[in-house]
Amino acid sequence: MEIPITQLKGGEKGELKRIDGGISFRRKISSLNIRPGKMVRKVTSQPLRGPVVIEVDGRRLTIGRGMAMKIFVEVNR
């Protein structure tokens, strides 16, 4: 099942499938080595539509909710 990372549960992992949005956003994400095939773990999300914290290759990143909704991962549920 393919879902945006905002829908991952805290601590849940998924394999990154695609990144939507404009070229500059996609480039920004991929230059951080967050690319299709990578395992993404959602660390947590802040309440009231706050930002999402994800972990890729042991590095944590805080991203706004809007951006996080454009990053899709595959999960086995």
């Binding site: 805290g10 500059s24 480039r27 920004k28 991929s30 230059s31 951080l32 080595n33 690319r35 660390v43 947590t44 802040q46 309440p47 009231l48 539509r49 706050g50 930002p51 914290v53 290759d57 042991g58 590095r59 944590r60 990143l61 805080t62 991203i63 706004g64 909710r65 809007g66 951006m67």
Partner: protein, 560 residues
């Protein structure tokens, strides 16, 4: 050049010996810095470029980085050894630019602790340029790096994005091996401090602990170190005073005798108040604040705080990273105003700068407020800082409503926790203290002279008469308080001290402290804000400050 948080500024500092502040949060270098490096008989100009992940710019800092690249003859590419795969992306891009590159494989010690083993020979062969392992904070490997700069090489094979990642995959496979090992305690608490349920209570505890420690250290230094020094210094001043005899010189150097005695806060002489206020009342708190702030910065806690507070900051028209100008502003509004540069949009920078300048008193002023209002107990202090916090909150909500546009979303890497390295922590503390003494003491002395001249010439009395409708009727302060308000343009700490001889009631002290904090930035902050915001926005910002100060002061006068 290199990614964010890989130690570029520390490396720059090691290479040039210039004073650069290194902190464990993104965006320390928003504007580039220049320095010189001695290479035997030649000197080379070195530029500290902002952190970037790609030379196809995706943000303002990266734009600066891309521009700087065009001007460089050689690139020292600082690479995070603990995160080779991602860092090599920039390295490959640099190699394609036909500019000579040398790679500094930094955080070498951390990689070792993490069980990461990198085959240097193999990596050098793969990249075709020199690779030198370094630990920038301690200086390890820097000599080798400098001696090998001549070997920097250029290539020019072009790749597209896919090819680059494929090549990185091969390089990693051939040169890196990772041993599995147990998680350290620091790694285990990483998640706990960003999860809202645990992170928010921890953040509140950290904030509380921070201010408690500042107070304990500050007060401890005053009672145990600085007050005894100034007591010992008193006979010297008295005998000097006797030697000069009464007159203008005595008035300027020693000041008024209060009840036949020298009173360090009230006398207003150059050698009494002019030295005592900045050194014995303010400096101890500055020291305490920057010590604690340094630990917070270097440990990597601040990006976590920025994450937790992001939601709140969005309601105020900013985002989580705006916590940085606010925190730096507590030390001194000048670096606070400068650090608004890390925010992306003009709107965000305007709101952050205005809120900081109006509602965040600097540590010098806080120290004086504690000294003055704190004499009457903790309740008065609570009102002063509570009111300022409410001003910050409501003004932010209002500005967010009435200003066009929205705030961009936060996008920030959270660096791993690091145990602060004492050498660089103390160096940073020393630089900040030096900065304070160099800037504050002359201003304080100048202010003391100026205020004496204004009193002498009767201009203060005149100003008191002219502003009486506002100062007396609206704010409920005596006419003489205008002297403190004038001084406040120069130094708010001395200005707050000038309230003492006026014999104000607690209510008046509270109003005067709040108004002094809000009504206008001190001259040093004003200059920086003017440069950062431009004439129009600066005029708007100061207009808001004056109106809000009168409004809040007047309201307090009615309510208290």
């Amino acid at each position: 050049m290199g990614n964010q948080n890989v130690g570029k500024s520390a490396m720059f500092f090691r290479l040039t010996g210039i004073n650069v502040t290194v902190s464990n949060y993104p965006g320390t270098t928003v504007e580039f810095k220049e320095g010189r490096l001695n290479l035997g008989d030649e000197t080379a100009e070195i530029i500290d470029v902002p952190g970037t992940y790609t030379i196809e710019p995706t943000s303002k800092a990266e734009e600066v980085a891309a521009k700087m690249l065009k001007e460089g003859d050689i690139v020292i590419n600082v690479v995070d050894a603990t995160n080779l795969e991602r860092n090599l992306y920039l390295t490959l891009q640099l190699l394609e630019r036909n500019v000579p590159v040398i790679v500094a494989l930094n955080l070498w010690d951390e990689a070792h602790h993490k069980g990461i083993d990198i085959n240097l020979r193999e990596l050098e062969k793969e990249l075709g340029v020199p690779v030198v392992p370094t630990v920038a904070v301690t200086g390890e490997g820097i000599k080798t790096l400098v001696s090998r700069i001549k070997e920097a090489k250029a290539h020019k094979k072009r790749h597209n994005e896919k090819e680059r990642w494929a090549r990185i995959g091969r390089i990693i496979k051939n040169s890196e091996s990772i041993k599995h090992r147990k998680e350290t305690l620091l790694e285990r608490i990483e998640d706990t401090t960003v999860k809202p349920l645990t992170g928010v209570p921890i953040a509140i505890f950290v904030a509380f602990l921070m201010f408690y420690m500042i107070r304990i250290i500050g007060e401890g230094l005053i009672t145990n170190v600085f007050d005894p020094i100034f007591e010992a210094y008193k006979p010297l001043v008295i005998s000097l005073g006797n030697a000069i005899g009464p007159g203008t010189l005595h008035y300027i150097l020693i000041g008024n005798m209060i009840g036949g005695q020298i009173d360090y806060v009230q006398s207003m002489g150059l050698l009494t108040t002019g030295l005592y206020v900045p050194i014995a009342m303010v400096l101890p708190y500055i020291f305490a604040f920057y010590l604690i702030l340094g630990v917070l910065e270097d440990s990597g806690y601040l990006p976590r705080l920025a994450t937790l507070i992001d939601t709140v900051m969005h309601r105020l028209g900013m985002h989580g990273l705006s916590i940085i100008p606010m925190l730096l502003g507590i030390g001194c509004n000048v670096p606070g105003a400068l650090s608004t540069r890390i925010l992306e949009t003009k709107r965000q920078r305007f709101i952050a700068a205005t809120l900081m300048a109006i509602a965040i008193p600097c540590m010098a002023q806080i120290a004086m407020i504690i000294g003055l209002v704190g004499r009457h107990g903790i309740a008065g202090l609570g009102i002063v800082f509570g009111v300022l916090f409410l001003v910050w909150l409501f003004l932010g909500l209002i500005l967010n409503r009435i200003m066009k546009g929205g705030s961009p979303e936060i996008f920030m890497e959270i660096p791993p926790y690091r145990i602060p390295y004492w050498g660089s922590l103390l160096k940073k503390l020393w630089m900040r203290m030096k900065g304070f003494v160099a800037h504050a003491v002359p201003y304080v002395l100048l202010g003391v002279i100026l205020i004496n001249m204004l009193y002498f010439s009767g201009l203060i009395t005149l100003a008191g008469k002219v502003t009486a409708p506002l100062v007396v009727n609206v704010l409920g302060l005596p006419e003489d308080a205008v002297g403190a308000l004038i001084m406040g343009f120069l130094r708010k700490d001395v200005a707050t001290g000038m309230l003492l001889p006026l014999g104000l009631s607690l209510k008046q002290l509270i109003i005067a402290s709040v108004v002094l904090a809000m009504y206008f930035p001190c001259i040093a902050t004003f200059v920086v804000l003017f440069r950062e915001l431009g004439l129009r926005d600066m005029a708007k910002s100061t207009g808001i400050m004056i109106i809000m100060a009168l409004f809040v002061g007047g309201l307090l006068n009615i309510l208290l």
